[in-house]
Each structure stands twice: as C-alpha cells, then as structure tokens.
C-alpha cells in the first residue's frame, strides 16, 4: 500500500517542474450502492490537477471517508481529463469528462479493489485565468476489476483552485 502511494507520487512529481497550470482540487463525493469495498458514508476528494494541453488534463487524488468513521476507507485515483466543448481558456463554461483508475482500500477488511473510473461534469464554471473552476453535478461510473461489478459516484461540487500559472 505504502509502496503504491510512493510510486504514484514519484510518478507525478516530475510534472511539477514543468510550467503547467495546475490546481489543488477538493470536494465531497458519494459512492453507491454501498458495499464492503465502498462502505456507506460521506467521502472527500482532494488532490492536484495538471493542465497538460488546452484540452487534456491529468488528476491525482485521494478520497478518504469522512463520516461515519473518518479515514476507515480511502481511495486513490489517477484520471485523464478532457475539456469536451472548448479549450480550457478563454472559455468560462465547460463540460469535462475524466477516465482513469481508482483504487479503494478498506482498513477493516484490508482489501484493495482496483476500478476503472469514468466520470462526467456536465457543467463547470471558471478557468485558470480566474484561478478557480467549479465542477457541478459530477456523475461517475466505476467498474471493479476484482469483483467485476459496477458502482457509481456523485459529487455535487468539485472545486479546482489554480495556484500556478504558466
């Protein structure tokens, strides 16, 4: 587990030395239906998102459980993001699709489940020029490679705070 986190962090650390726009991301997320590898509760998601090209982005994030038992379950995701309508700037309104992998880990069972994740934000507001972007009503589908089952995710709001400008 620790090795996986370290490899992920080291894999993406070199990105920070290039002159990308990048953002700190944060927001709530719900996974449903609840199961043994996605226990019921409120989850947060926090991470970093890199604007690689005007249309393509890369996100690395963690998603710990907040309620009812903080940090009793956690997920890690790596996503490629696509601005579907236009380039990220100067457009103010966007539709964003993400695709990637998500690993969920439950401390009680000590099981890790890799998943394929696809999610769509039908409306996002803002861009790096304004230093923020709010992604509204993000709906995701997760395919568990171990259980071969499908689950879903929903976020009312995910905020991107752009802290670096190229």
């Amino acid at each position: 587990m620790k090795r996986l986190i370290l490899i992920l962090l080291l894999s993406f650390f070199p990105l920070t030395v290039f002159s990308f726009d990048w953002a700190v991301t944060g927001g709530p997320v719900t996974y449903f239906p609840a199961g043994k590898h996605v226990p019921e509760g409120l989850y947060a998601q926090a991470g970093a998102r890199f604007v690689l090209t005007p249309r393509i982005e890369l996100e690395l994030y963690a998603s710990p459980q907040i309620t009812p038992e903080p940090f009793s379950a956690v997920g890690f995701g790596v996503l490629a993001g696509f601005n579907l309508l236009e380039d990220i700037e100067p457009a103010y309104f966007h539709m964003i699709a993400d695709a990637g992998v998500f690993f969920s880990y439950v401390s009680e069972t000590q099981e890790m489940h890799p998943k394929i994740q696809v999610r769509l934000s039908p409306l996002s507001i803002g861009n790096p020029y304004y230093r923020y972007r709010g992604r509204l009503l993000t709906f995701g589908v997760l395919y568990d490679l171990k259980d071969q089952s499908v689950s879903f995710s929903f976020s009312m709001w995910i905020q991107n705070w752009f802290v670096s400008r190229h």
């Binding site: 944060g26 927001g27 996974y31 609840a34 309620t67 230093r131 009312m156």
Partner: protein, 178 residues
C-alpha cells in the same frame, strides 16, 4: 446548439450573483447550497445536499439560516433533515493568506453558530447543534465556508450535555440575492 446551452447557462449563473451597483440596496437575504455529513442516530451517514434560506438584515455579524438537506446516493431523498439556526461572524479581515486563491475581493470572516436540527425519519428526532466555521470567506455578494465541523446534543437525553453525534459541512456557498 452549443451556443444555446451556453446562453442558458450564462442566464442561470447570472441569477446566482446579486447586483451591487452604486446606490442599489445591498441584498440581505438569499440562499446557500452545502454538502454535509452527519454521524447521528436515525440520520443517514451518506453525503447530504442542503439548501438553506439565509437572512442577514444589516449585513452585520448575525446571519439567520433555515433549510433542509437530503442524502445522496442509493437512498436519494429517503431521510430528510431540517435545521434552523444563527451564525455569528467573529471578525472580518481584508488581508488573509487565502487571497491569492480567490479571484474576487474577499474578506476572511470566521464564524460560529448554533441551532436546532430535526431528522425527519419515521419518528422525528430533535437535536441542538453548535458549529464553528474556521474557513469562512465573504466574497462579493456571497459567503463561502469550507470544512465546518459541528456537534449535536439530544435535549431529551438523560445527560443533555453529552454530545450525541457530530457532523461536518464540507462546503457551503451562500448567495445574497434579495
């Protein structure tokens, strides 16, 4: 088609911001949208989406709020929670370390609050609540609060000062529009 969607979105977004031209009355009432979690008996631990009416008649330190929240996920709208209370702004600071992250003019305005909460399950349960909002900012005509924890007491419990549960508002966006 794309243009039509964008025009509609611009129109909808425009209603989210109050007009503050010179000489116009500053809006005192509005609404807030928040994402919450509860660890309380008879309340779902799923993410709750909440909408509150907010009212600050003088745009001073006191803000009244009342609203409802519903759990998201596979039990959509199964167990609603209603709440009402008062937020008290402790102070306002023009200079703060998060200014760089907020593109509009902003003020750091931490607050604390209290109120009553009712879980509308088969047998409604009443709780008293207190919360702190350490990451609260006044931005333009609105208020943003992040990571606001709260605790709850059951007034009918034999030890009324022992907390019954806790909760957190991960985000809370308030807009004064009227």
């Amino acid at each position: 088609m794309k243009q039509a969607i964008l025009i509609l979105l611009v129109f909808a977004f425009g209603f989210s911001y109050p007009l503050q031209a010179a000489g116009q009355q500053i809006p005192a009432a509005g609404y807030s949208v928040s994402g919450r979690g509860y660890v309380l008996p008879k309340v779902s631990s799923l993410e709750h989406g909440a909408v509150d009416f907010i009212w600050n008649p003088s745009r001073g330190a006191l803000t009244f709020r009342a609203g409802a929240s519903v759990p998201a996920g596979d039990r959509w709208f199964a167990d609603a929670v209603v709440a009402a209370g008062l937020d008290i702004t402790l102070f306002r600071a023009e200079e703060h370390i998060f200014r760089k992250w907020i593109s509009h003019e902003s003020r750091y305005a931490p607050a604390f609050g209290g109120g009553v909460t009712c879980a509308l399950s088969e047998s409604p349960s009443w709780y008293l609540s207190a919360d702190i909002q350490p990451l609260r900012f006044e931005v333009g005509g609105g208020v943003i609060a992040l990571l606001s924890p709260s605790i709850y007491w059951d007034p009918t419990y034999e030890k009324p000062f022992t907390p019954t549960g806790w909760g957190i508002r991960l985000f809370d966006f308030g807009f004064f529009v009227w």
